[in-house]
């Protein structure tokens, strides 16, 4: 009890209590700032379900998340493999790939916006001879840009977890497999990867939830443009609650987002755990 106490108490105080109060607020038609908070029952949820812009933002977020999660984890695993294979200067490389994470979300978006709109366009002009448009000017281009930057940012972060995973695998096990006649690929598939299961569960879970809740990057890189076609779910929720001053509905929509994320997360952790028993 003494062991788990401090963590649990702090967790309840700053997460659970406000969350429950937030739950209550979804049942009011509060505008976010007035003193009175009229009780309206489930009206906000009805409004949320009828908000087509919200659902298309959610759909968009799902597409973005699936592509990003796959790419992030493939790149991160590959990088982690390379920087733990005992080559010269691997510490240097690890530090290098991690650098994107040292830049916080908002600044990151501004820097990349600058890269997309200015640097890429300038390079494109130099290569093709005529001035091209920026990717951020088209719907698919903006989505692509969001995915690219997410991969760039999270690959180094997830690499860190995979590196810890690789280092947790006893080298002697892999060597034994190689001596038994496994090829490098087989040893990787049958010995190393199963032992790194917890790294995979962590990375996939983390990258999925982060992608689903993307906000900072969305705001600073595309701001929802062009034509509001790059507004992701969290941004829609924020705008609904604070910019359009519809706090109750925004809060209800955020809660729906939470439930979706929670279900996906639970499934992932569950599947991961089940596999653990088998292994």
């Amino acid at each position: 009890m003494m062991f788990a106490g401090p963590a649990t108490i702090l967790f309840c105080a700053v997460v659970v209590v406000p969350f429950i109060y937030g739950l209550y607020l979804t049942l009011t038609s509060w505008d976010g700032i007035a003193n009175n908070k009229p009780f309206v029952g489930l009206q906000n949820y009805r409004d949320a379900f009828a908000d087509t812009a919200y659902w298309s933002a959610l759909g968009r977020t799902a597409i973005y998340s699936v592509i990003s999660v796959v790419l992030v984890n493939v790149v991160a695993f590959f990088l982690a493999y390379l920087v733990t294979s005992g080559i010269k200067g691997q510490n240097f490389f690890r530090a290098g790939f991690f650098i994107p994470n040292l830049i916080g979300g908002i600044v990151l978006g501004y820097v990349w916006k600058f890269v997309f709109n200015r640097a890429f366009v300038a390079i494109g002009t130099a290569l093709t001879g005529h001035e091209g448009a920026s990717l951020l000017g088209t719907t698919n281009g903006a989505l692509f840009a969001l995915i690219l930057v997410s991969v760039w940012q999270y690959a180094g972060y997830m690499m860190l977890i995979y590196v810890a995973g690789f280092m947790g695998v006893d080298d002697s096990l892999k060597e034994a497999a190689l001596i038994d006649g496994c090829t490098n690929g087989q040893a990787m598939r049958n010995v190393v990867i199963p032992l790194m299961r917890s790294s995979f569960v962590q990375c996939i879970f983390l990258s999925t939830t982060r992608c689903f809740m993307v906000y900072d990057l969305n705001l600073s890189l595309t701001k929802g443009e062009p034509f509001n076609t790059s507004v992701m779910a969290a941004m829609h929720v924020y705008n609904k609650a604070f910019v359009y001053k519809n706090y109750g509905v925004g809060q209800a929509e955020a809660l729906i987002l939470f439930i979706i994320c929670a279900v996906i997360g639970m499934i992932q952790v569950y599947v991961g755990k089940k596999g653990e028993v088998e292994a």
Partner: protein
């Protein structure tokens, strides 16, 4: 092993101790016996100047003044401040925020001396709640040097009244070697919070006009819509960035082109000077009304604008009477005292909304706005648009700018927006 354990315990204890000490000194920040007031600034351009003012004003008036800024949405920032019971003494917000917050959170300023000196204060239910910080207006920004260089003639903005005049000038500019004389900003606020609202504002009764749209009136046949969109088309045709490129044009680049004279015109407002000024601009710039063929309400001679950014003083129990008094004194000083007036005009480079402030504005765009304001040639802002108006219709307007939909479609979307609106804000 034992050593290790000791070390960790010691580290943990030290951390707890350090944290405890921090907490102790963090909470007694309200030191000093003088009154302390806080000012929230939502105009990032003047943050530096305001901070310096806080120091000098504080010293000379015996109050402790602190200035805060946040780049968050003003409404969101206010919401968290009020939720936490930590409102600012004076908050700078947009006009629409005074309407939504003022009745509940602002003190009545009706008795103040400055009220009679301005037409721009905001009243709700007969009480003056919002103190206007500056006057800002929208129109076409021109670079007269660039025009002279291309056409060889001095530019007289009064000579361009109609869209046709404007077209002729554009062809002269092109003949003079300026390939695309215009920059169009793609930002949703520029398109749907600045350009589109002119359609409402330049009607005899904007609220009645919006109500007619709510009832399904045909916007596309409206004379004002037609004349403004005709001009917009001319702007788009001559925009240096076309199609998809128009949608990714960066505001900084557009302003730099205007400052350097690579383009001659841009739709904007006197707030743009803060950006233009970073690119070594000529002083030979100014603002003129958006040319239109339809001259109802004398729109060819007027800019659209008025008070912009308002101070209100918090009325909650978190703000003591002494603080409220100090806050009122500050607003009085800003509007009535010679020093305060000078600060507004010469330090913060704002156009004063007060008639008794006759100081000359230094920046060329502000100077234009001041001239129009002094001649009573401003059409009022319509401050009652719903909060999502600029975002929803801005997205549609961007499609029009990119050439992905035609004018009738855009008009239809504007009407649809109003049809489905609950009209709560319209008055």
């Amino acid at each position: 092993m034992l050593k290790d354990w000791k070390r960790w315990t010691a580290a943990a204890a030290a951390t707890v101790l350090a944290v405890g000490m921090l907490g102790a000194c963090g909470s007694n920040s309200g030191s000093g016996d003088g009154t302390k007031i806080t000012i929230f600034n939502s105009k990032s351009e003047i943050q530096q100047q305001l901070e310096e003012l806080a120091e000098s004003y504080g010293e000379s008036h015996g109050v402790d003044v602190e200035v805060y800024y946040s780049s968050d949405t003003v409404a969101a920032h206010m919401a968290t401040k009020y939720a936490a019971n930590q409102p600012y003494t004076i908050s700078m917000v947009d006009a629409k925020d005074v309407y939504s917050l003022g009745a509940e959170h602002a003190i009545d300023l009706s008795g103040e001396k400055w009220v009679s000196e301005t037409d721009q204060a905001i009243s709700v239910d007969g009480k003056v709640l919002g103190f206007p910080v500056s006057v800002e207006a929208r129109g076409l920004i021109y670079n007269a040097d660039a025009i002279k260089k291309a056409t060889g003639k001095d530019f007289k903005p009064e000579s361009i009244k109609t869209t046709d005049d404007f077209k002729n000038l554009i062809s002269d500019l092109k003949a003079g070697g300026m390939e695309s004389p215009v920059g169009v900003m793609k930002e949703d606020w520029s398109l749907a919070a600045h350009y589109l609202p002119q359609v409402y504002e330049e009607q005899e009764d904007p609220a009645a006009f919006i109500k007619s749209l709510h009832d399904g009136a045909d916007l596309n046949s409206n004379a004002r819509w037609t004349s403004l969109m005709d001009t917009f088309d001319v702007l788009v045709e001559n925009n240096y960035a076309k199609g998809d490129k128009a949608i990714s044009a960066e505001r900084e680049v557009t302003e730099q082109k205007l400052a350097k004279g690579e383009i001659a015109f841009m739709f904007g407002g006197n707030w743009d000077w803060a950006v233009l000024n970073q690119y070594e601009p000529t002083k030979n710039m100014g603002m003129m009304p958006v040319p239109q063929n339809d001259n109802d309400m004398d729109v060819q001679n007027k800019l659209v604008g008025g008070g912009s950014k308002y101070f209100f003083i918090d009325n909650s129990k978190n703000t003591s009477e002494a603080q409220q008094k100090a806050a009122k004194d500050f607003l009085n000083w800003l509007s009535m005292d010679k020093e305060g007036q000078e600060w507004i005009v010469n330090t913060a480079h704002l156009v004063s909304p007060f008639k008794n402030n006759t100081l000359e504005v230094a920046d060329p765009l502000g100077k234009s706005v001041k001239e129009f304001a002094d001649k009573n040639m401003l059409i009022n802002n319509y401050n009652y648009l719903p909060d999502d108006h600029y975002s929803v219709l801005g997205a549609n307007f961007q499609k029009y700018l990119a050439g992905q939909e035609d004018r009738a479609a855009l008009a239809g979307q504007v009407v649809d927006y109003w049809k489905s609106n609950d009209m709560k804000t319209i008055q």
